[in-house]
Assembly symmetry: C2
Homo-oligomer: 787 residues x 2
C-alpha cells in the first residue's frame, strides 16, 4: 500500500518521507505526521464558501512569496534545479511544511523552509513562515510578498471552458509600512472579500527593517523586499494574513476588519501555538485510536478525520453552509451539496452534534425553496434539490460531457428525488443520537413532515393492483436514468426510493407523536395537514409498490427484463470499468439496457437499516419476507456493480461486516484508499471525496462496533475485524460522553461524569440490557470465538 501511495506521490513530484508517529503510551497514539499526497492547497477554508454563478469561488491567493537573485533569476521549482523538495502535512497540528533546496544556473543554492497554516482557532487568520538560507554564498535576495486576486477557478480540466474568472477589483492599498490590503468583489453576487497581509523579516530572532517597495495593480498588491543574505545566517520571512468577506458575522465591513486584524495579529509562533492547541482539542473529540499491527489503516483514517474537521468545524457552524461533496479541497462539482451528508453526519453527530445541528440548518433555511421546487414540479410538500448551493434552487446540470466520446449528453440526475429521504433520515438520526427536542420543534419536525408529504404527493395510485407507484425517478445508481428506448427519462418504482418514502412517512408519524401537544397542533395548522391527508399517508405507507424478480428485490420495475452484461469482456478490454456508463456511451450503447449498477442502490437499504427494520418495511407493505432475502439481494447486485462511486465500497463493506468479515475488510480497505491512492485515476486532484472519507471512519465507528440507536436505547454489538487488535474512541450520546474500548474478546464501556443531570442510560450490549449510571464503568466479555 505504501508503495502505491509512493508511486502516486512520485508522479506528482512530491517526496515521500514519512515522519515517525508521535505517541504517548498514556494517551494512545496521536495522529502522526502524514505526507501530503492529496492535500496541496489551503485556500477557501478561511472564507467558507464564496458562491458565484452557483460555483465555489477561490478567494485571492494569500500565499505568494517568491525569491529571486539581484540579477533577476527566480528561485522556483519549475525553473531552477531542484536539489530537494519535500512537503509534509502534519495532521495532528494542521501544518504544512515545505522544504526545498534550489540551485540557480550560476550555482547559488537557496534552502527554503516554509511552514504554513490556516488557523482553526482564529478563523480569519492564516500565516506562513519562510526561512531562507544561502548555502555557500552571500548576497542580495529579492523577496516578493503578495496578495493575488487574479486567481481563477481552473482546478478541474473539464470546467475550463466555462467562465472561471469571478473576481473584480475594489481596492488595493497599504495600511502601514508592513501591511498591504486587497479588496475584491465577486462579479455577479457582489460578495466582497478583503485580505490584509503583514510581512515582517526576522534575523537571529530579531525583527529587522529591510528596504521594501510597494506595488499595487488591479487585483494585485505586493511588497518587494531587499534582503542581504549571509552564508550560514538564515533569515525568516513572516506573513500573517487576515481574510474577511461581507458575509461574515460580527463585522462592520470586511476591508477595515481585515486591516485591523492583520496589523494587530500576534506573531507566527503564538498564532501557531493557538492553532495547534485547537487542533489537539479537535482530535480529542474526534480521534479513533486503533491498533492495526499490519496496515496503515490508522494513518489513512486520521487523514480522513482531518479532512472532515477541516470542512466542518465550529467556524463553519457560524456560516450558512452545507457539506460540499468534495470538501473544501477541490473545485469538482463546484462546491455543490449532494447527499454526502448521509455518510458524514453519523461521524459528526456521535462526536460534535452541534456541527450536525448547524449543518442541518443549512437545509432548514432552504425549506421554503424546497417547497417551491415541489410546487413547480407539480408535487406538494418539500422537494430538496439533488445539487444545492446558495439559494436552494436545483443546481444539477442538464447536460454533461462524456470525456470518452467527447459528446454532451442529457443529464437526468436531478430526478434523484431520494435526496429528500436522505435529509429526513439525517434529521431523524440526529434526533436519535441527541434527543434535541428544541431542534426538532423549531426546525426538524417541519422538514420531516413536508418531506413525507412530498413522497405521498409523488405517488400515483394503481387501482388494479391497489398499490401506489412512484414514477419518473432515478435511484442512487446513476447508470439507469430511464428505460431503453424510452422518450422520457426516469424509472418506475425504484425500490430504494419507494421504501425510503415509506420509511419517511412512518417517521413523520413518529415525529408527530414525539412533539409536545401544542407544537403538534400548531404544526398541523401551519401545514394545513388534515386527518384525511394523514389517513392517506397511512394508506400509502402500507401499499407502496416494491417489485421483485428472481426472488430478489428489483432495483426498479422492469430491472429483471434487462440484459446481462458481459462483465469479463469489458474488464478485459478496458481494465478499470468504474465508469462503464462512459464506456458504453462511447460505444454507442447505453447502460440503461443492462443489469448493472454504478453503485449500491437497492443495497443502500441494508446500509441504512438493520435487517429487522427492512423486514418491518417489507412486511408492512404485505410482501413476503424470508431471512435469506437480504443475502440473496446482496449477492445478486454485488455481482452486477462496477463501483463507479467512491461511496459504493463503503456501503458494500458495511453489508458484509457481520457475514463475511474478510470480504468486509477488503472492501473497507478499497474505500479507504479511494483518495489517498486516487483509485479513480485523477479525480482526487479535483477534490477529495468527503462522503467516502467519512464513510470509512463511520465503518470503524459504528459498523465494526455495532453501535446503533434503537427505541431510546444505545445498542453496541461489536464484530471487530481480525485486522484490528484494539479500538478506542469516545461518543456523545444524549448529552453523555461514553468512552469505548474494544478488543477481540472484551468491551469496556465507561460513561464519563458529565455534570449533567445524572440518570442512567439504557443500553443493550452484545444482546444484554444494561443501565449505566454516569461515572459507571462496565466490562463485557464478548465471548465470541475468533474465526
Amino acid at each position: 500500500m505504501i508503495s502505491r501511495i509512493s508511486r502516486n506521490l512520485q508522479r506528482r513530484n512530491f517526496a515521500t518521507r514519512g515522519a515517525a508517529p508521535e505517541s504517548s503510551p498514556a494517551q494512545g497514539h496521536y495522529p502522526g505526521t502524514y505526507i501530503a499526497g492529496t492535500y496541496n492547497r489551503l485556500r477557501s477554508e478561511i472564507a467558507g464558501r464564496i458562491v458565484e454563478n452557483e460555483s465555489l469561488v477561490n478567494v485571492p491567493s494569500w500565499l505568494p512569496l517568491s525569491f529571486a537573485t539581484d540579477d533577476g533569476v527566480a528561485f522556483h521549482p519549475d525553473t531552477t534545479e531542484v536539489l530537494d523538495h519535500r512537503i509534509e502535512l502534519d495532521l495532528r497540528r494542521g501544518v504544512l511544511t515545505r522544504r526545498s533546496r534550489l540551485r540557480e544556473p550560476s550555482g547559488r543554492i537557496l534552502a527554503i523552509t516554509q511552514r504554513r497554516f490556516v488557523s482553526v482557532r482564529d478563523p480569519h487568520l492564516a500565516a506562513v513562515e519562510c526561512t531562507l538560507a544561502a548555502e555557500g554564498w552571500s548576497g542580495r535576495l529579492l523577496v516578493t510578498s503578495a496578495l493575488d486576486g487574479r486567481v481563477t477557478n481552473d482546478g478541474v480540466a473539464r470546467y475550463r471552458s466555462l467562465p472561471s474568472d469571478h473576481l473584480r477589483p475594489v481596492e488595493e492599498c497599504f495600511a502601514d509600512e508592513q501591511t498591504m490590503c486587497l479588496e475584491v468583489e465577486t462579479s455577479d453576487s457582489h460578495i466582497r472579500i478583503a485580505e490584509s497581509a503583514r510581512t515582517r523579516v526576522f534575523a537571529d530572532g530579531e525583527l529587522v527593517e529591510v528596504p521594501r517597495r510597494p506595488q499595487a495593480e488591479p487585483r494585485y498588491v505586493a511588497h518587494h523586499l531587499d534582503l542581504d543574505l549571509v552564508d550560514g545566517r538564515p533569515v525568516t520571512i513572516e506573513k500573517v494574513v487576515a481574510v474577511f468577506t461581507s458575509r461574515d458575522d460580527g463585522i462592520y465591513e470586511p476591508h477595515r476588519e481585515s486591516e485591523r486584524c492583520a496589523t494587530g495579529a500576534a506573531d507566527f509562533d503564538e498564532l501557531l501555538d493557538r492553532h495547534v492547541l485547537t487542533w489537539a482539542h479537535a482530535w480529542n473529540r474526534s480521534r479513533i485510536d486503533l491498533d492495526d499491527p499490519v496496515d496503515d489503516t490508522a494513518r489513512v483514517l486520521d487523514l480522513h478525520v482531518f479532512h472532515l474537521l477541516q470542512t466542518t468545524s465550529k467556524n463553519t457552524a457560524e456560516l450558512d453552509v452545507g457539506v460540499p461533496a468534495r470538501g473544501l479541497h477541490g473545485e469538482a462539482y463546484r462546491g455543490h451539496v449532494f447527499w454526502d451528508e448521509l455518510f458524514i453526519f453519523p461521524f459528526l453527530s456521535w462526536r460534535v452534534p452541534e456541527l450536525t445541528r448547524a449543518l442541518l440548518r443549512y437545509r432548514a433555511r432552504r425549506l421554503d425553496q424546497a417547497r417551491g421546487l415541489a410546487r413547480e414540479a407539480g408535487y406538494r410538500g418539500a422537494m430538496y434539490p439533488w445539487q444545492s448551493a446558495s439559494n436552494g434552487r436545483e443546481e444539477t446540470q442538464t447536460l454533461h460531457l462524456n470525456p470518452e466520446s467527447g459528446r454532451w449528453l442529457p443529464d437526468a440526475s436531478h430526478l434523484q428525488r431520494h435526496i429528500d429521504a436522505a435529509i429526513a433520515y439525517e434529521v431523524w438520526s440526529y434526533w436519535q443520537v441527541t434527543a434535541d427536542l428544541e431542534f426538532m420543534r423549531f426546525w426538524g419536525a417541519e422538514m420531516m413532515l413536508e418531506i413525507a408529504r412530498f413522497w405521498v404527493s409523488a405517488t400515483t395510485y394503481d387501482r388494479l393492483r391497489d398499490r401506489y407507484d412512484i414514477v419518473g425517478v432515478v435511484g442512487p445508481d446513476e447508470y439507469h436514468e430511464g428505460y431503453p428506448g424510452a422518450d422520457e427519462p426516469g424509472l418506475r418504482n425504484n425500490a430504494y426510493t419507494n421504501l425510503m418514502a415509506v420509511w419517511c412517512v412512518c417517521r413523520a408519524f413518529d415525529v408527530l407523536a414525539l412533539l409536545p401537544e401544542q407544537r403538534r397542533r400548531e404544526l398541523l395548522e401551519k401545514l394545513a395537514l388534515t386527518q384525511e391527508e394523514l389517513d392517506r399517508w397511512g394508506d400509502v405507507s402500507r401499499k407502496m409498490t416494491v417489485c421483485f424478480h428472481d426472488d430478489v428485490i428489483s432495483q426498479f420495475e422492469g430491472y429483471g427484463d434487462l440484459e446481462e452484461l458481459d462483465w469479463e469482456s469489458y474488464r478485459s478490454r478496458y481494465g478499470n470499468i468504474g465508469r462503464l456508463d462512459r464506456i458504453l456511451e462511447a460505444e454507442g450503447d447505453t447502460p440503461n439496457r443492462y443489469k448493472l449498477s454504478k453503485q449500491a442502490d437497492t443495497l443502500m437499504l441494508f446500509y441504512l437499516f438493520s435487517a429487522e427494520e427492512v423486514q418491518q418495511l417489507i412486511e408492512r407493505l404485505g410482501y413476503p419476507y424470508d431471512a435469506d432475502l437480504i443475502p440473496r439481494t446482496i449477492s445478486y447486485y454485488e455481482a452486477r456493480t462496477s463501483h463507479g462511486s467512491t461511496l459504493s465500497y463503503v456501503v458494500h463493506a458495511w453489508l458484509h461486516a457481520r457475514g463475511d468479515r474478510r470480504q468486509a475488510w477488503d472492501l473497507f480497505r478499497q474505500a479507504l484508499l479511494a483518495d489517498v491512492a486516487d483509485v479513480q485515476g485523477g479525480t482526487t486532484a479535483e477534490g477529495i471525496h468527503l462522503g467516502a472519507m467519512a464513510g470509512t471512519v463511520d465503518l470503524v465507528q459504528r459498523c465494526f462496533t455495532g453501535i446503533e440507536t434503537r427505541h431510546d436505547r444505545l445498542v453496541i454489538n461489536p464484530v471487530l475485524p481480525d485486522e484490528l487488535d484494539r479500538l478506542h474512541f469516545q461518543v456523545t450520546y444524549r448529552r453523555n460522553t461514553i468512552d469505548l474500548t474494544f478488543t477481540a474478546d472484551r468491551l469496556v464501556v465507561q460513561v464519563l461524569s458529565d455534570g449533567d443531570e445524572a440518570r442512567p442510560i439504557p443500553m443493550e450490549i452484545a444482546g444484554t440490557a444494561h443501565r449505566l449510571q454516569p461515572g459507571e464503568r462496565l466490562e463485557v466479555d464478548l465471548a465470541r470465538p475468533r474465526r
Copy 2:
C-alpha cells in the same frame, strides 16, 4: 388610565376608539385589538438591523402609496380636510389598519382603508392593501405606488445634525409589468438592500389592468396608475413587497431574490392568513392570560409581549443580531445593544429558549473582540462594551448633549463594566432554565470564564485592608460618574459591580464543575488558566470590598459622604425630575455631589438575587449580615431615586412584591405605563423601551408567581397581587412544558406530556417539595390569607 392614553393619542392626532377584546371562555382571552399609540411604523423589522456608521439604518420605505385627483390635488391628511382618521393595531394578528375619509377642496370625498403587515411567516415579505371608495362622485384617481430609498434616519431630533443619509443608489428597474425593483447600498458598510414591489388593482374581487407609467430616479422607483373610480364601487390596490439584504442567509444575491420573491408571491389574503396563523402560534407560546377586572393591565402587557415578539423571533434567530434597547421601533440609541437583555431574556428563556440561545450567540461571536477591549484597557479576560453594535467594539459616545443647557459634556458611561456581569448572569440563567449543555460546552462556559477572569484582573489588592478593590467604574446609576471635583471619572467599589464580580467568579467555578471532564481540561488549556490563577480567583471572591454606611450597603465607596439633595425643592421647581442630571448640570451643579440615583443601582442586587443569595455573597466576604439589611438598604435608596430610567420602576416593583404588595402593584403600573403613556415625555416616539416592557411581563411571569430555579429544582412560590384574580400561562423548563394557573388561594401545575424521555421534575411549590411526572397535574392550596 384610558383617558391618559387618549389624551396622549389625541395630542398625536390619532383616534382612540378601541375594539372589543375578542375572547373565548374555553381558551381565555386573546390579546385584543389595541390602539396604536406607540406603534406607527413597520420598517426595518424586515431586514433586521442594517448597520452603518454603527447606527441602525432605515431600509428604503416600501409603503408609499399616494392618491391625487386628475387635476393634481393630493388626498393627504396634511393637505386635505380630514373627516375621519383612525389607526388600529391588531396585536393578535399583527395587522395595522388605517381608515381615513378625506375631502379635497372641490368637495370630493375619498374613503381610504389600508391594511398592512410585515409578514412574520414569510420574513422577506410585507404587504399593504388599500381600498378606495369615491363618495358621491365618479372620476379619475391617480395612484402612485413607490419604493423610496431617499429615506434618512431622522427619527430622533437631537441626532439630526449628525449624518443621516446612509443609502447610495445601485439600480432601479422593472421586473415585469407589475413589479418594480429598487436596489441601494449603505454608503460605508456596503450592505446591499433590494426591494421589489408588485402592485395590482382589483375591482369586485377581479384583477383589473389599468394604465400605468413607470418612473425611475436614483433611489426612487414608482408606478403611476390611472384609476377610474365609480361612486359606490370600491377599488382595491394590493402592494406586495419583498426585501432582501446582502447579509441574508440562503440567497444568491439580494436583487434577483427580491424580484423572484415579489413576482411569485401569493395574494394579500393568503399572505395575511399565513401571517396571522404564525402570530396565533407565537401568542400560544408567549401569552399571559390574566383576569384583571379593574384595569387594562392585560391589554398593556399584550402590547409589551407584541413588541418583544416583533423584535425577537425565529426570523431574527437566523440573523447575527442582539436585542437593541429600543427594539426595532425607533432610532434612539441607534440600535445599539446595552444590558436590556438582562430584563428580556427571562421572558424568552422560559417561553422560547431557542431565541435566548440565538441572541446569546450574538455575544459569543464577539468574545474575541471583548478580549481585545480588555487587553486594550489593561485588563485580562473579556470586557464586553457597554454599547455594542456590529463588530463588538465599544460604541458608547464620549460626549453627550444636555438639551437643558445646550452643552456637550464628557460621557463616562462606557465605564459601566457591569455589562460583563449581566452577560454572565444571562448565560447562567439560560443554563438554569434549559440545562443546554451543548450551548455551555460550545459557547457559554468560555464566556463565563473570560468574564470572571476580567473581574479578577480588574481588582487591585489593598494590602492594608487585605481586600480587593475595583476602581474606575460607573454603576447602573449613571448620575454618578465620578467624585465631586475629581480629575478622572469613575468610582471606587461600586457595591453592585463588586458583588456581581464575586458572583461571576463563583459561577465560573460552578461552570468548571459542570463541564464534562475533557471539555474542562481543554478549556483550561485554551485559556491558559492555571491552578494558581484559579486560587487567586478564589481569594478575590472571598475578599472583595463592599462598603457600608448608616447600616446600609454603600452604593460606592464614599457615597455616605455626599450631600443630601433637597428633593422637595426640585420637585416643586421642575415637576418631572426624572432627568435630575440635566437639571443640575444646567444649574452649573452636578449630581456627583449628591445622594441621589437615576435608577436602581445597589438595589439591582435584590432584583437579581434572592435574599439567601445576597446573604451568601455578603457572608462569603466576611461582612456582617442581618435580616434587616436588605429592607433597610431598599428604604434608604428608594427615598433617593429619581427613576430616570424606565427600568427603575420594574426593579422597585420587584423589591416590594413580597413585602408591600400595594406598593409593588403601584410601581408595576408605573412601569407598565412607561411607553403607552410616554411618561418620559417624548422618548417613546424615539423608540419603545424594550427592557422595561419585558420587565413588566417578567414581573407577572416570575415575580408575582415566585418562579425561580434553585439547585436544579423549579421553585414556585406565588404572591399574587390582589388586583389579579387569575393568572395563566405556560413555561418551558428543561425540555418540559408546564402549564400554570394561579388564583388567590390555589395553584394548578400541569406538566404536559412532551414525548421527551419521561422523567420526574423536581419542584418546590410554596415551600413543599414535589416530583412531577410528565402528564401529572397538581393542585396546591396556597392557604395564604388575603390581605
